[in-house]
């Protein structure tokens, strides 16, 4: 059979979202790939220029819908730097709590999708089942399962409900043995190793050259985690290890993500203990009224204060479940940001697709792309 181009997407079970992988095939062998994105481009960066600083957080949840908290955190750090606001410490812990639960939830979602890609049917249900427990926790303090709008520029919206920490500990106790079960289902199977070992290999220096970050670069043995390298929020106070693997293949990425979930559980236990013993305010008190300080009605007169606020730019980078996300917020003194720019890790990871896909077979496309963990929302923004 001669070579042919096939379109895998935008509606294809492999894509887990709305994008298109154009593949040139020789029989079953991949000769070339050309990812095509933008089917979910909603112009978040443009709309943000038309929104108040806190309203942008609404868009952040929808930007990456499996890791909404990570993106809220990313944006709030940048906006706080641009507006010269410092959040209270308890708010920082609450953010880390949300972030790390989000990391587990996002990785569980990835697990559910990834095992389907290699044809395992039941773990999809197990991953979704355990993810729902975390979403229940979210619901108890934010009121939503996926789109939280919980962070604020200058802190978080509200404190935890009573009894939350006990509930969180219960969930963590439930999750810890589950990870071993997942491993048994995947790593315990010879077919899994036959399918995933030495597949989608992208060595460390290629990762650096092509801007790949996150579990992909850590699976290549490069110890790169912004939570350790440039600790933001309160990660400096927390004790955890960076998950590493050295095989640079799909199995390596699997191992890294599994270990990250275990490390997140470890972080969360510390955070939950801290939250038990350190009550305090959860939002900065010196906020301007137009930014929605607590108990201050936002009215027309509130907006007048905007002129008293200094100009500034804010740059932030956080370790999102998919990799390294960055935000750049330009504050020109108005109540809207002048320009917001986001760097999505998956955007860069997909753009390097040619490097880790050519030469494999068509049946390898789903596991490889599954191991990249594509979230189209943040690719297209």
């Amino acid at each position: 059979m001669s070579e042919m181009w096939i379109n895998m997407g935008p509606q294809h079970p492999m894509t887990h979202g709305l994008w298109n992988l154009r593949v040139r095939l020789d029989g079953e062998l991949i000769k070339d790939v050309d990812p095509e994105v933008g089917y979910l481009h909603r112009g978040i960066e443009k709309i943000s220029e038309d929104r108040h600083y806190n309203e942008v957080i609404t868009l952040m949840d929808r930007c990456c819908y499996v890791a909404g908290f990570a993106w809220e955190h990313l944006y709030t750090i940048a906006a706080e730097r641009a507006l010269h606001i410092t959040p209270p410490e308890r708010a920082e812990y609450l953010r880390v709590l949300s972030d790390e639960f989000q990391r587990i939830a996002s990785h569980l979602m990835w697990y559910a999708a990834f095992v389907q890609d290699i044809g395992l049917m039941s773990p999809f249900l197990y991953g979704m089942r355990d993810r729902d427990l975390i979403l229940d926790l979210y619901q108890s303090y934010t009121g939503a399962r996926m789109t939280y709008e919980y962070f604020r520029v200058g802190g978080v919206r509200s404190d935890l409900p009573p009894g939350f920490t006990d509930q969180a500990r219960k969930v963590l106790d439930w999750l810890t043995p589950r990870f071993n079960e997942y491993d048994q289902l995947c790593l315990g199977s010879d077919i899994f190793h036959k399918r995933c070992d030495n597949l989608g290999v992208l060595k460390a220096n290629d990762c650096v050259t092509h801007g790949v970050t996150g579990p992909m670069i850590r699976s290549a043995g490069l110890k790169r985690d912004l939570r350790k390298d440039r600790p933001y929020s309160v990660y400096r106070q927390l004790d955890f290890d960076v998950a590493l693997a050295d095989s640079a293949d799909v199995t390596g990425r699997y191992l890294v993500r599994m270990e990250e979930m275990r490390q997140s559980v470890r972080i969360l236990r510390q955070v939950v203990d801290w939250l038990d013993h350190h009550p305090g305010p959860v939002i900065a008190e010196e906020l301007p009224r137009w930014l929605g300080a607590p108990y201050a009605p936002v009215g027309k007169e509130g907006y007048l204060l905007k002129r008293h606020y200094p100009k500034g730019v804010g740059f932030s980078a956080v370790e999102e479940p998919h990799g390294e996300a960055q935000a750049y917020v330009v504050n020109e003194g108005g109540e809207h940001p002048y320009r917001v720019k986001f760097r999505s890790p998956v955007f860069a990871n997909i753009s390097a697709a040619r490097q880790y896909m050519v030469g494999y077979r068509v049946a390898d496309i789903p596991p490889i792309m599954g191991s990249v963990d594509v979230c189209v929302g943040e690719v297209d923004r």
Partner: protein, 375 residues
């Protein structure tokens, strides 16, 4: 009548119908109650019963798979339609019957329509051959096993024809994978069957079952059983060997372009083949409708006990296939073919050798002695 057989039941029904007709239309009484006419109608009734029974069983099998999968996955499966979702598959079938059948503009009409139809018809044909219980078969066919496997191996042709004529790249790749896979696994499958035939000394399925009165073949012919089950999984295109329908990369595989009734044909034929596969495992290795001697005779001698135990065994075997489906990932084409040619064929040759050994030594310790029949 002392024993109830499928043919006797259909003969009774046919004769009843014709006698009632003759009573209603007195002038035609003599012509209608003629023995030849009754026999002719009996054959028709026989066919209808077979068709209905296999269809019902297939639909029940789909239900059984859905519920079992649901339980393994921590959920319930179909619950809403009928008791515990028993009517769900009937709803699916009627719905698909009503749907428009869309023929893609570039598709080849002849292949597009005849492929699924032929696939389903050949799958139905198998039920005329397989004995369900003693007397419940379509008569003594000395080579029924061979015939069953021959019809079973028609499928790649029809799948490939329908995939090719869909004019869809995914369908085409699915069809080619399907053909390659079925041909690769045909050989070990047949060799595993040869092992059974050597021990049983016959190609007739009924005889093979009778040969298992003393002990079932799964013990002494364990290697053959493994090869046969693996080959059957590949022939039935179920996980871990469901590459032609690999949903992750090939959308719906070779039936991507099929909707409506033609898609229903495919689904039905797939499960018919799954049913036949389970039945063959039961017939060849698990003693068919016989039960071991330690089972109390009350459990094996009630009316239609043979059919009952046979169906129980078949559904358990199919349940094992479902269990495999729920817990294993899918393999890749090249790995599948390599395993097929490099591992399965030597294994099946080994099983043939073991069978020959068994026939020579006659007795195997935990299982007992093979009967003198077969010589």
């Amino acid at each position: 009548m002392s024993t109830v057989t499928l043919y006797s039941v259909s003969y009774d029904i046919a004769s009843l119908i014709l006698h009632i007709l003759g009573f209603i239309i007195p002038p035609a009484n003599a012509a209608l109650t003629n023995g030849n006419v009754i026999t002719g109608l009996a054959v028709l009734v026989f066919g209808v019963i077979l068709l209905a029974a296999s269809m019902l069983n297939t639909i029940l099998l789909i239900w059984w798979e859905r519920k079992l999968l649901g339980r393994i996955m921590d959920r319930r499966g179909a619950m809403h339609v009928g008791y515990a979702g028993l009517l769900q598959n009937f709803a699916d079938g009627f719905k698909l019957f009503r749907k428009t059948t869309v023929q893609p503009r570039e598709a080849d009409a002849l292949g597009f329509f005849s492929g699924p139809t032929a696939y389903m018809v050949t799958s139905f044909l198998l039920f005329g051959i397989l004995p369900i219980s003693s007397g419940w078969n379509s008569g003594i066919l000395p080579l029924s096993l061979l015939l069953a496997l021959a019809i079973f191996s028609f499928a790649p042709l029809f799948i490939f024809v329908s995939a090719w004529s869909s004019n869809n790249k995914y369908s085409l790749m699915g069809g080619m994978r399907s053909a390659a896979q079925m041909i690769a696994y045909e050989v070990p499958l047949l060799l595993a069957v040869v092992a059974v035939v050597i021990v049983a000394g016959s190609f007739d399925l009924t005889t093979i079952v009778y040969e298992q009165q003393n002990y079932w073949f799964w013990g002494p012919l364990f290697v053959a059983l493994i090869v046969f089950v693996a080959g059957m999984l590949a022939e039935m295109e179920r996980i871990p060997f469901d590459l032609p329908e690999a949903e992750a990369e090939l959308v719906e595989g070779w039936n991507t372009e099929y909707g409506g009734m033609l898609f229903a044909f495919f689904m039905l034929a797939d499960y018919l083949r799954a049913l036949v596969g389970s039945i063959l495992v039961v017939l060849l290795f698990l003693g068919g409708w016989t039960m071991p001697s330690w089972v109390p005779s009350a459990a094996t001698s009630f009316p239609l006990a043979g059919i009952f135990w046979f169906m129980v065994k078949t559904y358990i075997v199919f349940g094992l296939f479902v269990w495999v489906r729920a817990s294993l990932p899918r393999v890749r084409t090249d790995q599948l073919l390599r395993v097929g040619w490099n591992r399965m064929i030597p294994l099946s040759l080994l099983s043939v050798f073991l069978a020959a050994l068994l026939v020579t030594v006659k007795c195997v310790w935990p299982f007992g002695c093979i009967p003198s029949a077969g010589t």
